[in-house]
Amino acid sequence: MSAWRSNAPQRLAYAVAAVSLVPLVVSLLVSLTPSSYLELPRGGLTLRWYEEFWSGPIWREALWHSLLVGALATVFSIACGLAAAVALTRGRRRWTAAWEWALLLPLVLPGVALAAGLLAVVRQTPLWGHPVSLALAHSVLAVPVAYVALRAGLERVDPNLELAARGLGANPWQAFRHATLPQLTPALLAAALFCLAISLNEVTLTLFLATRDTETLPRIIWPHLRFAVTPLAAAASGTLLLFTLPAALAAGWALRPRRHRPS
């Protein structure tokens, strides 16, 4: 067997990965173009569109809204996801399958159906037009992911540790806090970053639910994308990437395969 043949599967996989990354690279390059048109930079690169982005109050405010909503959604999702994961891994076994089915359902619902229904629901509450409503809507999509990540983390922690802590005089909360939680840190970090990335990247729900008071970055990029005008939208996209990319890498680090400790 020749060396090329044995490497063929990897080469093909790298080719697929490269193709899937090209749009991202193009998007970033365009944001660095000195030209006023959407085109790949010829000659030098410039940060002029990023400067323009940061000097525009609309864009800065949208970024702030995006980050605020992202932070709130992360807190909501982790709270709901962690509580549910503890209940379903440590509690009774009955109804667990039904609960999981319900918890994961939002993942397969059409985004436009959820968005349309949420629009109708939220409009009837005082939360309409408030960042919290957007954060709660993003949490609907982030809770399933947080739940799955945290359940996986909890399943790796020996349940006897909590029992041992109880036997040594800890109440249920102390036992969880001292015996389980410290070992859940990587899973918690990964889950939080997933939730943040989901919120920052969510477009459909945001389009439907955001109002003038809660314009977020995706909502401002949207018209630029449909009626493309300047590389400013590329710079806005690049800025979003600045926040989500470290999140992606950190999540990858937190979930890296580790050696099992002998028990």
Partner: protein
Amino acid sequence: MLRLEQVTKTYGARPAVDALSLEVPEGELLAILGPSGCGKTTLLRILGGYEAPDSGRVWIAGADATEAPPERRNLGMVFQSYALFPHMTALENVEFGLRMRGVGKTARRERAEQALRLTGLNGEASRRPAQLSGGEQQRVAVARALVVEPRALLMDEPFANLDRNVRLRLRDELKALQARLGLTTVFVTHDHEEALALADRIAVMNHGRIEQIAPALQLFLQPANAFVARFLGVGV
């Protein structure tokens, strides 16, 4: 000291513990011996408060403790896997129970170091469980259970994860320690040799019931039935 009264615990269709009564007097070392799946671990967990019985009562030191959660029972427990907290050092593991009882930092440290010395550990206090050998881990688990001065000690297959030489040495040490402290102890095992070597009395369990409970010698000389005889390897 410990008393079970008509205790039943059912998982699914078959009872793991079936209307079982048992009394452990102060200072006794009792072995619960039986094949895997006979309900011996469930019995131990009911004593410790880690499982609630479906019916029956649990008495500790003359008081009804059936409803008491583990943290109110003040019993020491050594799990089969030791259940050492992997993110804490050996010393911090031993200190944990004292911390939960609000013992001050210096007193805590002193008592924990003393407990580690009692179980034969000296230089390993600042190591994490993953850096300790199986025998050392077991010593930490025993020290952690003893340091809070429990009313009784419960141990689930405490020697199962050790190789033979370590097992024999730790067995002798534990027997000596238990005799010195005069501590009521219940341990669960599937190894009749271990039970014979350690225990004052042995309870032979099968299908959630105690087939016979007696001192080791009597068990050998007068097995109550064919199951006990077969399990001890005595011809009938």
